[in-house]
């Protein structure tokens, strides 16, 4: 979406004085709520309904996941700093923050890849049981969203290097930022509802 919703399509005088692209992005995020909601509810519905193991308790590594959650959380900070930078017209700092955000995102993703492979080694795949099915598809779907965000961040970085991301186009960064933060808040919910609560004492 953010890729579609270019500032170039931002009408200068609109009825509300707000940017089309930003309105569109928020509508899209509202719609995303129901998307992830459905996957999370599927996970909750099938909680403890698996006919065979492994169960969450068997495979989760909470300290590990906590760290990667923290990493994603911090990427939101660098993201918002990137926006602040371009709005101030500070392009070197913009590039640094964009790259930092992308790197943090990549750390999170590689962490997830490692987690998945470990789960598979411990005998949990999408086909094993309802837990495997609902867990992998939910978190994988989120991972795909993060990956999409990383691609957008990198292309913003590239555009900025070519000087095709002037200060007037700050909105492009803001839109990608909105998407990125949304993916982050979804993970906040997943971390609580999918990781901590099911296995908590």
């Amino acid at each position: 979406m953010a890729v579609h919703a270019q500032p170039s399509e931002h009408s200068t005088h609109t009825s509300t004085g707000l940017s089309n692209a930003k309105l569109g992005m928020w509508a899209f995020l509202g719609s995303e709520c129901l998307l992830f909601g459905a996957l999370i509810s599927t996970f909750l519905l099938y909680r403890g309904k698996s006919l065979s193991g492994p169960t969450p308790k068997d495979v989760y590594d909470i300290p590990y996941t906590s760290v990667s959650s923290f990493v994603l959380l911090m990427s939101s900070l660098t993201m918002v700093l990137a926006l602040a930078a371009i709005q101030r017209g500070d392009h070197p700092k913009l590039r640094v923050s964009l790259m930092a955000t992308a790197l943090l995102g990549m750390t999170f993703i590689s962490g997830q890849v490692y987690e998945f492979t470990r789960f598979v080694q411990e005998g949990l795949s999408v086909r094993t049981n309802l837990f495997g099915t609902s867990f992998f598809v939910l978190t994988g779907f989120h991972g795909a969203h993060v990956t999409g965000g990383i691609i957008m961040l990198l292309s913003l970085f590239g555009m900025s290097l070519d000087g095709r991301l002037p200060t007037e186009k700050a909105e492009a960064v803001e839109l990608v930022g909105l998407y990125w933060h949304f993916v982050d808040v979804v993970w906040i919910v997943i971390f609580t509802v999918v990781y901590l609560i099911p296995t908590g004492k």
Binding site: H4, A27, S31, T42
Partner: protein, 613 residues
């Protein structure tokens, strides 16, 4: 990568690369009508099969594919895109805008819709069309014999198209209204478009996840709906109907909007209780979220859930009834001219009342235990979606045709079309009520001769061919008047809304100067002033031109200096990626990569290309 922008203004390429909302609207309309013919032919085949007991015209497998594709076609490839056609063409004209908020995104959603439809239909050549019903209940949908993989991917693609379009329309309405057009000065059709857009934005993701899970079950062996692994197949039903019920209002609200535009024009009275009609539309949109489980009364949700959903279902009838009463009050005391558009709107009201009332009878859960999954239900939703949506959309076609083509359709042929269609419709679907109550289940490719169902089935089949005839009459009307039809002029119906203030067909920049809006039905008030007691006083000749205001600081001068978004290849390229991707997901990884690359190239080119040169 910056290659030459498309420059053609006529011919195939100009259509393939257009970002003009009017051209995209026309493409939506034409495509939808073509699919209407296809879906209709499927229906005729089914009626032939059911004309007599133990029909032998179709095999069971063929029949099941046909009724599945008939449902999918009529909902996703006919009624929704016909609505989208009017949204595209009319929305900017009605709110006094020059285009939609995201012109290229608009082209993208059309191409995705077209490719999605073709992808779905390609299944006929690739091992058989889906045969698990448009509702695709698990676990039947997961049996290989149901071919539901094309269903899951096809609807995912169509969902992308609709979501993108819905966001586009919502933003357009919120942001691109002419100066002075506050929300409560918008035409009702625009209001209904807004409600529909939000319904789609919030309802489609639910279906998307359902389809996503179904696809993973089919392709990657997950177990979302697999009872053998402890899954509960009812989950699919909740996801499906959580989308499916708002979808019903997505299908009917555009027609309601059209009717609300047509009635005032042809009774020469303002819409009775504009705020109430608007609010009831919004109310329907909201309440539409609280009734989905009335599709599942027989599943065994328990008496408490069934009672709750019975209540919510009954009370959604209230705002619907309010609309109908307001429409009748609009006609009341009017100066009613029975032009074809009005006839179709009246047909809508008359038929929709029947559909609504039968709807109430199966909100009564116990009687739904008898009626669910019988032809009584089939009757109900055809009275709502054909007698309702299709009649309403035809009303729109006859009403706006002069604006779109610059020529009038023939009134005489149009009236023939209406009467044959109305009678054919009732002869076809009226008997369904009786058949259902007398024990004919849905989705059966044959029925026993000893059930006493033979007579009304034969009647219904005859009726279905009358409907087909009425469509032929319509096509004759189109062909007959396309060159020879009377020239319409700007305002053939003495209309009330902004689109009638500009030439027919409109110039590609729509409005030379953006109008300034002072009230609902602004254009009408430029032509007529209201004396005391609401008596109308025509404004002095030429006055309508004289006192037209111009929003200051806007481009003028015959539209030459008006800057419109330029055509682009990239929406088409990006859209092309999706079906390739889907075939890949079924057949080969190479195609997946191919599709993904096409998509990304399209999006990238799109991103770096400015919307206008």
């Amino acid at each position: 990568m910056r290659f030459q922008r498309p420059t053609a203004t006529t011919g195939w390429w100009s259509w393939a690369t257009t970002v003009d909302h009017k051209r995209i609207g026309i493409m939506y309309g034409v495509t939808a009508i073509v699919f209407f013919v296809v879906g209709g032919s499927e229906a005729l085949l089914m009626r032939l099969q059911l004309a007599r007991p133990n029909g032998r015209i179709l095999t069971a497998e063929a029949y099941n594919q046909l009724f599945t594709m008939h449902g999918l076609t009529m909902i996703f490839l006919v009624v929704m895109p016909l609505g989208a056609a009017f949204f595209n063409y009319m929305l900017p004209l009605l709110i006094g805008a020059r285009d939609v908020a995201f012109p290229r995104l608009n082209a993208f959603s059309y191409w995705v819709f077209l490719f999605g439809g073709l992808f779905l239909y390609s299944s006929f050549l690739l091992g058989g069309a889906p045969s698990g019903g448009w509702f695709g209940y698990a676990p039947l949908s997961e049996q290989p014999s149901s071919h539901m993989i094309f269903y899951s991917l096809g609807l995912l693609v169509l969902g992308i198209s609709s979501t993108v379009a819905a966001i586009n329309f919502a933003v357009t309405i919120i942001n691109l209204r002419a100066p002075g057009m506050s929300l409560m000065r918008m035409p009702v059709f625009v209001w209904m478009t807004l409600v529909v857009s939000f319904l789609l934005i919030f309802a489609l993701p639910v279906l998307t996840i359902g389809l996503f899970e179904l696809f993973f079950d089919l392709r990657f062996g997950t177990h979302f709906f697999d009872p053998n692994f402890g899954a509960d197949p009812v989950l699919w039903q909740h996801l499906f109907w959580l989308f499916g019920h708002p979808e019903v209002y997505v299908l009917i609200l555009p027609a309601m909007g059209i009717v609300s535009e047509v009635l005032p024009v042809f009774s020469r009275k303002p819409l009775f209780g504009y705020p109430v009609v608007v609010f009831s539309g919004i109310a329907i949109g909201f309440m539409g979220w609280g009734v989905w489980a009335h599709h599942m009364f027989a599943v065994g949700l328990g008496p408490v859930a069934n009672s709750a959903f019975a209540l919510s279902t009954m009370f959604i009838a209230v705002p619907t009834g309010v609309k109908i009463f307001n429409w009748m009050a609009t006609l009341w005391g009017g100066d009613i001219r029975f032009k074809t558009p009005l006839l179709f709107s009246l047909g809508f009201i008359a038929m929709f009342i029947i559909g609504g009332l039968s709807g109430v009878t199966h909100a009564i859960v116990p009687s739904d235990y008898q009626q669910t999954d019988t032809y009584y239900i089939v009757a109900h939703f055809h009275y709502v979606l054909f007698g309702g949506a299709i009649f309403g959309l035809f009303s729109g076609i006859y009403y706006w045709w002069p604006k779109i083509t610059g020529r009038m359709l023939s009134e005489t042929i149009g009236k023939w079309h209406f009467w044959v269609m109305l009678i054919g419709f009732n002869v076809t679907f009226g008997p369904f009520h009786i058949l259902g109550l007398q024990g004919m289940p849905r989705r059966i490719y044959q029925y026993a001769p000893n059930l006493g169902l033979n007579f009304w089935n034969m009647v219904s089949t005859i009726g279905s061919f009358m409907i087909a005839l009425s469509l032929l009459i319509f096509f004759y009307n189109v062909v007959h008047t396309f060159r020879r039809g009377a020239v319409a002029g700007e305002d053939p119906w003495d209309g009330r809304t902004l689109e009638w203030s500009i030439p027919s067909p409109p110039p590609h920049y729509n409005f030379e100067e953006l109008p300034v809006v002072h009230s609902v039905d602004d254009f009408w008030h430029r032509k007529y002033a209201e004396g005391e007691g609401g008596r109308l006083v025509p404004v002095v000749a030429g006055g309508s031109e004289a006192d037209r205001e111009v929003s200051t600081g806007d481009h003028g001068g015959g539209g030459h200096s008006i800057h419109m978004p330029s055509p682009s290849y990239f929406p088409l390229v990006a859209a092309l990626g999706l079906p390739i991707l889907c075939y890949g997901l079924i057949y080969s990884t190479i195609l997946v990569i191919d599709g993904a690359v096409t998509l990304l190239v399209g999006l990238y080119g799109w991103a770096v290309e400015p919307s206008a040169e």
